[in-house]
């Protein structure tokens, strides 16, 4: 096992090297850092020349690369155009983005896998169709548009509601009917499968109608004439006032983070649920699952211990792919919600107001490094999940 990990790490080194050369080439040619300077009237050519020398623009590619690479490996990421060190800025940006991305990914995995399993087991059912449709919808959502939508509805309108909370009668009736109806249908299905006794559906819908009606009524009274602050925040990643007590700080973090996390969640979720479903379908028809059923163990155990456990194996590869999509999503989300994360860092380095090669280089390299690291992690997870791989 350790040999496996070491081998993977060793392969990563040349890949990183190639990636760095490629990145360097890319960034060097991404626009001219001095374009603003050149465009300004009244600047003498000598000044421009000085700047070029300072930035090393006059040196040949290989020399520039080796200088930069040498520095990079020792941890010196150089200074940006305004002569401020790059690394501290990047590091703080990384912290923000990582926080966001990891939470969103964890939630996406948990919910996505669960729904994928149920979808696969209940293929072609109403549940399957609706969740499939939702997955497709998430696949087709333009992140930038959705983020803005959430900003208005999730935050502004919600906060408006919080200022004058109340539940209309119509709303309460709809919710009650929805739950009552759903439980009725579920009860009927269970009756048909003889899991529940006849007449159970009436009991179920009756109880749920009563409970939801009660909840709605009490909510209606509770929410009248109360005062809440504007909870959901749309600007920035954390509260300005760090002197607050811990609970209120935590609450504030949640308020700031909830919308971006939701946006990023929708990006990853669809992949997990769809692929889990497909993987489950494949497993449920597999020979070893048939053997498991023939052994007489409970269906739940067959699904979880046999089908799901094997279905999990190809999912490890999905995890790596979704990372790239998440970074891209983070770029957009951070722009919409004004977080100072990596996405913002990237956009900034492209045009603030001129391209900043050191910042851009640092950003792309770090992103590439993360991707490679995640790939290795995925490989390791793959080996943990599938004993057959370990032999090689």
């Amino acid at each position: 096992m350790t040999a496996f990990i070491i081998r993977r790490l060793l392969i990563a080194v040349p890949v990183l090297f190639l990636a760095s050369v490629f990145t360097f080439f890319l960034v060097i040619n991404s626009g001219d850092p001095l374009e603003n300077l050149r465009a300004r009237p009244g600047i003498s050519p000598q000044v421009i020349r000085n700047e070029e020398v300072r930035l090393g623009l006059d040196k040949p590619f290989v020399e520039r690369y080796t200088t930069w690479a040498g520095n990079f490996v020792t941890g010196d990421l150089g200074n940006d155009m305004k002569n401020r060190p790059v690394w501290p800025q990047l590091w703080s940006a990384i912290k923000y983005t990582l926080r966001l991305v990891l939470i969103a990914e964890l939630i996406a995995i948990s919910i996505g896998l669960m729904i994928g399993i149920v979808s696969g087991v209940r293929q072609y059912s109403g549940f399957d169709y609706s969740t499939t449709f939702i997955s497709f919808l998430f696949f087709s959502l333009p992140v930038f548009w959705f983020a803005n939508l959430l900003k208005v509805f999730g935050a502004i309108k919600f906060n408006d509601w919080l200022e004058n909370p109340g539940i209309s009668v119509a709303f309460a009736v709809v919710i009650t009917a929805f739950f009552g109806g759903s439980f009725y249908l579920i009860g009927r299905k269970r009756e048909r499968l003889r899991i529940a006794k006849p007449g159970a559906r009436f009991k179920w819908s009756g109880i749920s109608l009563g409970v939801t009606a009660l909840v709605m009524l009490s909510a209606m009274f509770y929410f009248k004439n109360r005062e809440y602050g504007r909870f959901v925040k749309t600007l920035g990643s954390q509260p300005r006032d760090l002197a607050d007590s811990l609970p209120s700080r935590v609450w504030s973090y949640v308020g700031h983070g909830i919308l971006p996390v939701i946006v990023l969640f929708t990006i990853s979720y669809a992949g997990y649920s769809r692929y889990m479903r497909a993987s489950m379908l494949e497993q449920l028809n597999a020979d070893h699952v048939r053997t498991a059923r023939a052994k007489g163990i409970s269906e739940t155990r067959v699904i979880l211990r046999h089908a799901f456990r094997n279905a999990l194996i190809p999912i490890a590869t999905i995890a790596t792919l979704s990372w790239g999509g998440l970074i891209a999503g983070a770029v957009i989300t951070e722009r919409v919600f004004a977080w100072n994360g990596m996405g913002d860092f990237f956009l900034d380095s492209l045009s603030n107001p001129t391209p900043d090669p050191n910042r851009l280089l640092a950003f792309v390299m770090i992103t590439a490094t993360f991707t490679i690291v995640f790939n290795i992690v995925a490989d390791i997870i793959y080996a943990i999940l599938d004993p057959r791989i370990r032999v090689n």
Partner: protein
Amino acid sequence: METIVGSHETEFAVEVRSQWRTVVRRFVRHKLAMISLVTLTIIFLASIFGKYIWRFDFMERDTANLSQPPSWTHPFGTDSLGKDMLALTLRGAQRSILIALMVSILSTTIGVTLGAIAGYFRGWTDAVIMRITDLLLTIPLLILAGCIAWQFDGGGSWWLLSLILGVLSWQGTARIVRGEFLSLREKEFVEAARAIGVSDRRIIFRHVLPNALGPIIVSATLSIAGAILVETALSYLGLGVKAPDSSLGLLVSDYQAAFQTRPWLFWFPGIFIILICLSVNFVGDGLRDAFDPKQTRVRA
């Protein structure tokens, strides 16, 4: 003595259909895919021919009707300059769809070629191509494309953007095609062809490729959706299509501030993107089901 009744040649066989007819038949059966196909065609035709049919041009300013919500004259409303939203949206859609189609064609072509070579020849060729693929995957597409597209400031013509995106997004298709070729090349008909002395190139194109067509078509279709999302995102960020050219992403970024006061300016471009992507995804899914022989829907 008794006589024989019937002969062994009488067989109760099911009618044999050609493969394509089966595929089409199965696809047509997929209601959702069909609806999506129709939707796509409508949007597609509207975006191309809309400007000839619709009475407003997208540049036209109806100064009498500034910032109007949707009405009979302007079904999608107007903006602060009096420009008709429907015309604007159609124009943006036309651009985005055009780019997406070009990207799909380009990336599929590159992906199929590289994937076929890698899967067929294996060994070093395969390893090299796969390393390049992995390398390109280490940097997210948006970032990569953003860096490159950024330089071509001023106009950001649509075909340049298509070129860039097309050249950068072939990895998925390449992987799939490589997988198909790896398994197909082990089949007996390839061995037989080689034994007769058929050239490699002919084997690839005339023998193996037609059998891999299913997943390729599915991949090409789905890549259209991916391309639209990337292109609109880039345009939104200002790294893609720029004024005076149009794109659905550009429309969203232009009008995002107006969402609260004039929501119609925000809704329509976004809904168009969703509609196009959703339809493409459903059609792609329908194609996937139609091509997959293992999936037989059993009517319970």
